[in-house]
Symmetry: C2
Subunit: 314 residues, 2 copies
């Protein structure tokens, strides 16, 4: 089991900024990643909230290279690298490992449903073997309500047994804390991340590693602080505040709402753009969201500057 | 509405042969496509049964080009071109249109679930607009039990209204004949294909176009004949025989079973190879399947020769 891993304790599935004609905006992506990084937030780029599966493989590789060339620390980076075709997953995972990324977050192949653990084991094994790089550290990505393909405890066991140096942990986005607890209990040293910051404290108390959470994109500082001070007296209170902000976003389609907040607080309206099949919030929804957030004294300090100054040297 | 379309009436979602180390076997793919084509079967390459989503985009483009270079008629070809990222779908659809393919079979973007018809409309529109080719003819692909993303009648209506020259029909793999009937009734001239040859006669009787069916890979002649003679006296009997063969395959994981049959009757054991997350039939299952098929006097005449002679000139 990998124990001495330098994986970040909290990570944002980083929003991918697009231009209004749906191109990836590399400049704003770098600026946004730097803003998150400065606050101590790890960068799980190319996650569900990143609309990663709405990006081509080439776009993902180009964005990853852009980040590293711009000086974002590979040790902060845990790119999503799961794909339906193992060839795609191999390319992205290999690139990440070679660039020195802390790890990768790997979805199972998600087109076919009802597949066996044997088949999923073979799929992950195919990628790990073909990457053939000891530096590769894999977080398995359990998000059955979206992928349609659960990562069972039996599958984890098979993978850990075969690849103890590579299989580093799990992102549990099922929302079922009991599943996280079962994985923590069964696999000592295995790093389990909550898929929601609403479960951060509970996950840490049970021995989990942290969280990789949608709202880490907009509320990074408070999440980083709770990860650091979770044994402190005020942890419950801090968790309650995190959950309150999260619940405000959960009143809307999450990705569109997060991007609307980034667009508003970053003073960059184009950031609200999503790729189809997602749709942006309506103007009415945006205004309502901002009003609710303001009532909670929500802010994203420094974001506007980060988004405008990031182009230097690029 | 497109009425004068030359789309094939029956099509096979063509199995993709792999080598034992999981590479695409272009030579066997050409041979298998020619074998199907000779029997009057249309070629819906890169469908669900083709394991298309287990192929990288480059692999699909290369296989398509290989087929056309080998002389397979583009008018027989309806490649699957749906993808999670519209950029991928644009590339493959554009290639198909330029090569003169009869049409494309388009999955909706299938990662995000619970998305709106507005978002799905935007996704299809993005592809159609970016391809920007009047030759593009789209069959929408409704397979909610696998994709997780249904194509609703409301979505079809929006798409037909906006792109009457492009939206040509629907493959209904839901297994719900009532859904096919509703689409046929509501959209005159719209070509509805059953996703199973077990529903071929019923679909034709209601005014549907034909079928795009897994077992068309192994039982092409009988399916082509029923499509031609469906108004004849012996149609019910022919349908019953088709359904019997289909049910034999449905006793196993379908794709692995089809490939096992092709491997056995084509005398090319490597054809049984599937890519993960699918798993091949066990030896016991293969023997049992062949035994059951033999009891129905099942055969795939000429396949062995087609698979071995296809390499000429390649």
């Amino acid at each position: 089991m990998v124990n001495e891993l330098a994986l970040p304790g909290v990570m944002a599935p980083v929003l991918t900024p697009f231009t209004s004609d749906l191109r990836c905006d590399g400049k704003r992506f770098v600026g946004f990643c730097r803003w998150l990084e400065r606050q101590g937030m790890g960068l799980a780029v190319f996650g569900t909230n990143s609309e990663a599966n709405s990006l081509t493989l080439e776009e993902r590789i180009e964005l990853l290279d852009t980040l590293i060339e711009a000086g974002v620390a590979p040790s902060s980076l845990v790119p999503g690298s799961g794909a339906c075709a193992f060839g795609d997953s191999v390319r992205l995972s290999q690139r990440a490992a070679r660039q020195g990324c802390a790890g990768v977050l790997m979805l199972p192949p998600f087109y076919y449903k009802g597949v066996s653990d044997e088949g999923l084991f073979a799929a992950f094994a195919e990628v790990i073997e073909r990457v053939g790089d000891q530096r590769l550290k894999v977080l398995l990505y359990h998000i059955p309500q979206v992928s349609g393909v659960p990562i069972t405890l039996g599958l984890i066991e098979r993978l850990i047994t075969r690849y103890p140096q590579t299989i580093a942990g799990l992102k549990d986005s099922s929302g079922d804390l009991n599943y996280s607890k079962a994985a923590i209990d069964r696999f000592p040293g295995f790093r389990v991340y909550a898929g929601s910051d609403a479960l951060l404290l509970a996950t840490l108390k049970h021995g989990g590693a942290g969280c990789i959470s949608a709202t880490a994109n907009v509320n990074p500082q408070a999440i980083v602080r709770l990860r650091q001070d979770w044994r402190g007296e005020k942890a419950e209170e801090a968790q309650a505040r995190l959950t309150q902000i999260r619940k405000t976003f959960e009143g809307y389609p999450m990705i569109a709402a997060l991007k609307s907040a980034a667009a508003h607080y970053g003073e960059h309206p184009e950031f609200a753009t999503v790729r189809p099949p997602l749709t942006a919030l309506t103007e009415g929804q945006r205004n309502e969201l901002v009003k609710k957030l303001s009532a909670h004294n929500f802010a994203m300090p420094g974001l506007e500057k980060a988004l405008t100054s990031s182009g230097e040297g690029m």
